[in-house]
Amino acid sequence: MTSVEKVPQDKITIEGLTGDAAIAHALKQSDVDVLAAYPITPQTIIVEDFQKFAADGEVQTRVIPVESEHSAMSACIGASAVGARVATASASAGLALMWEILYCAASMRMPIVFTVANRALSAPINIHNDHSDGMGMRDSGFIQLYCQSSQEAYDTTIMAFKLAEDHGVLLPVMVGIDGFILSHNVERVEMLPDDAVQKFLGVRVPVQPLDPKNPITMGPLALTDYYFEFKEQQDEAIWNVPKIYKQVEAEFKKMTGRSYGMFEEYKTKDAEIIILAMSTMGGTAKAVADVLREKGEKVGVIRLKMFRPFPAKEIAKAVSGAKAVMIFEKAMSFGAVTSPLAMEVKSALYDLEKKPMVVDFVVGLGGRDVPPTTFVEGYEKTKKYVEKGKAPLYETLGVRK
């Protein structure tokens, strides 16, 4: 680890930035060698802003606006294989079109940073936010970090390179922001000076790049003889993430004073019911918790940032004292026992002797608004379920039936 220092306030640039623009600035400062992407709403501004930086000579990056997302992720792998620092951006159907290559990126241990403006999957076509694209790639081997604010999107994008390129990890990272809700809303962002980011990240040191002087073959057949060993190593690598992520965050905190953890806890200490949500819903949940607390309700919030690897033990510990965990999530797993986030949380709690009830609400699909009243509705239901001692495996809120 390099030694970084606290950046003095007068070196910080403060701007109002959308989530997309914040990511574009972070990518610019991260000295990306290659960026390959294809336009898809609501991610487009990331690449557009980045292209302006490129046209103005502010970055040395080779930007390739390719002919599809499938090509974008493929080009990223090629560039990463020769040792470049690589990024891309997409959403929804574009992310889904990358699916085949996502698995290759993770399996070939390519430290690509993939920023996603999370958006609903087709069909029918919908450009608004939910997490079905992110959940669709949850088993691909990508690290997944979901952000609540433009500041966090900026910070996380920078940290993602350090995490991905760490030799103990060498895995691609998805940095998720809620489409439109965060990607297109302007918030105050504190930006570091370029040299601080460059010092923090350093230059990528590839482990085994494609190099004509030392010829190697990447991705050849590994059948019954070796395939399983590759997967075993990949599994080992992703469980190195929590430790390295903590180190990366600690260093980033030294520089900025900011850190987020694998999840954020808000008023959970004495909470009887803990709301668990990801991304921008975390903000709404905290505001709801404040109001409910004023009314004497013992409620807290966990805003999960790291979905992959899932911090099972830590989450189990954080909620073990509560009567119930009320999950708000923006994805469905059709025909599954429950929804993706609830499945993780329930599995994480299984070995606890005394475990809180898990109540799962699927909300906000296709960008349906999730106002504070929906949280209160869920909260009232959760209280009833706690009284009865029984809750449905999952249910939807805010939908016409």
């Binding site: 336009p39 487009t44 046209a55 930007v63 599809s68 159907a93 087709s122 076509i125």
Partner: protein, 281 residues
């Protein structure tokens, strides 16, 4: 219906879902013009509209399918032709029309375009080429000319890539009818769409359109009217010209006309014959 209502009603409105109005298109856009060309071609031919399927991909032109009052499908980005192939193969009696943009058909769906041409499957592809991805905000695409400006190829450098000439691409891939018109040559273009629909095989009709909101604005090409006037000025009609000579230089010369009209076995006919042969065998 009162008399004034019947006068106010557009003659093509019988094909259009009026409850979906107003159109989403910007003022000065060519997509509405092309939508009318397709409607008029259907009308002129007296097609059984209940057996006509309109398929489109993603983007501004991709929205076309949703406006037609028949069986239509708005597919995902690039998949319009592949989807339409499925429709045609499953029920060859249907008249299949694909309406989509250059970005959808030639970039993310480019592979489907060349392979559908190669197969010579009976469908009519109407491609509105406005030289950029309009819907997502004006990024450069597969038809954007070298050094043109766009959201992803801003000043001072512009686009470092070179464009496809879609007429040449479709012709060399095996399409049996290939034509190009601009959006202002509405009658000629409509005639070509009619010929394309009647043709038993793959017909590719490129309509050069204007996107004043994005491509026009970024390249300072004027408003919609000015852009369409320009298209008329630089259009050069050369019916029967070999497709490989059908040049397209936005500023100076857009060669228009019908370039390919040949006969080749049609894919679904061949498939049916093969099945018949297998049954007999």
């Amino acid at each position: 219906m009162t008399e004034s209502d019947s006068i106010l009603r557009h003659p093509m409105s019988k094909y259009i879902r009026e409850d979906r109005q107003p159109w989403i298109y910007c003022s000065g856009c060519s997509v509405g013009v092309v939508t009318q060309m397709v409607a008029r071609a259907i009308d002129n031919l007296g097609l059984d509209f209940t057996k006509t399927v309109v398929v489109s991909g993603i983007g501004c032109t991709g929205r076309t399918s949703g406006y037609f009052k028949t069986g239509t499908y708005h597919t995902t980005h690039g998949r319009a032709i592949a989807f339409a192939e499925g429709v045609k193969i499953a029920n060859p009696e249907l008249e299949v029309i694909v309406v989509s943009g250059d970005g959808d058909l030639a970039a993310i769906g480019g592979n489907h375009l060349i392979h559908a041409c190669r197969r010579n499957i009976d469908m009519t592809i109407v491609c509105v080429n406005n030289f950029n991805y309009g819907m997502t905000g004006g990024q450069f695409g597969p038809t954007t000319e070298h050094e043109r400006y766009s959201q992803t190829s801003p000043r001072p450098v512009g686009n470092v890539e070179h464009p496809f000439n879609l007429v040449k691409l479709a012709a060399s891939s095996g399409a049996t009818f290939v034509a190009r018109w601009t959006a202002v040559q509405a009658r000629r273009a409509t005639k070509s769409i009619e010929t394309g629909i009647k043709k038993e095989g793959l017909s590719f009709i490129e309509i050069i359109g204007a996107c004043p909101t994005e491509f026009g604005r970024m390249n300072r090409l004027g408003n919609g009217v000015e852009m369409h006037q320009h298209l008329l000025e630089v259009a050069e009609i050369q019916n029967g010209l070999p497709a490989h000579e059908a040049e397209l230089h936005y500023d100076t010369r857009i060669v228009c006309g019908e370039f390919v009209n040949i006969e080749k076995p049609e894919y679904t006919v061949v498939l049916t014959e093969m099945n018949e042969r297998l049954k007999k065998g």
